[in-house]
């Protein structure tokens, strides 16, 4: 009889242990669910600002207009597009420097105007616009911090362009 009682007690003890284990599992699961929800909601709540439309800007119509007008000034287009010319002359370079630095220097962190002769060997330095280290030849990718933000170019001849880079 005592033996039977002992067995029953042992069974009850085991049952209670099982029940406690199950309860702890549910409590922990509930806590995890609540914590995950709480984290998600608080992350969203921190962003109280309106959602800004971020449109990658790689082109600027104002820069194009300036470049077209520059090339139309004093016949600079004919001068620069002539065969063999691969750099600014003193007059054309000074004018470019005055126009583009004058307009953009205070608004962007880097301005570069120059020639792009061969696709693989971009000439990125001239006497009027010092080389900007984070320009990647002719490539504009908004995702990369090593690329120009805005680049506009006008064809001067076969494989020969004049380019404007504005980096912010």
């Amino acid at each position: 009889m005592f033996n039977n009682l002992k067995v029953t007690n042992k069974k009850m003890y085991n049952n209670k242990k099982g029940q406690m284990g199950e309860t702890i599992t549910w409590v922990v699961a509930t806590i995890i669910v609540v914590v995950i929800l709480g984290i998600s909601i608080s992350i969203l709540s921190f962003n109280t600002d309106s959602r800004k439309m971020i449109i990658p800007i790689t082109s600027d119509i104002f820069a194009v207009k300036s470049l077209v007008s520059y090339l139309s000034t004093n016949n600079i287009y004919n001068e620069l597009s002539a065969e063999g010319v691969e750099d600014f002359t003193s007059e054309s370079g000074t004018l470019a420097s005055n126009i583009f630095y004058g307009i953009y220097n205070e608004k962007v962190s880097g301005v570069w105007v120059g020639f792009f002769i061969e696709e693989l060997i971009p000439q990125k330095k001239n006497d009027f616009f010092p080389k900007i280290s984070n320009i990647r030849g002719g490539d504009v990718s908004f995702k990369s911090r090593y690329a120009a933000e805005i680049s506009e170019k006008i064809i001067l001849g076969e494989n020969k362009f004049i380019e404007v880079y504005l980096i912010s």
């Binding site: 509930t30 600002d49 800004k52 104002f62 207009k65 004018l95």
Partner: protein, 172 residues
Amino acid sequence: MNKLGDGKIVSLYWFLILFLVAAGVVYMVALFYGNPYDVRYSESRALSNRIANCISVGGVIEKSFLEGEINLLEKCNLNFDVEESYGWTGESEYYIKVEIFPYNLDTYVIGSEITNNLEVGNVNLQDYCKEEFSSSNFPVCDERGFYGLGDDGSSYLVNVVSIVRKTEKNVQ
């Protein structure tokens, strides 16, 4: 008996968790999509581009902009009509100003502004181009310039200022 009771409690618990998760998801979606998109920066850039295209074609500034007073809205086929909400009137939500300066190519000196009164819209917005108003709670200003030529080959610097208010709709 006990087992049946346990089953009921577990079902209740499941419903409670399900409700909690669903409510959380709904709340998060409402929180995210409840905020409006702020399109004013794009809007002001588009407005400036439109004005620039109207002023200069092929690098040459149209004569009327250099000569006399013109109506910018008519000239550039624009209107300031806005949605009939928030008590807006078209004039109160936009401001455009065009400044044209002669540019001396010999000395590289910018001359004084050619006064053509080229502005339209709510004049009170023009202060919002200052640095201190750059937060999203204020009207958005786009100020850009370009170099252009006159009919006779003379040089000019053109500055275009576009400001869009519409704060109620774009900022929560």
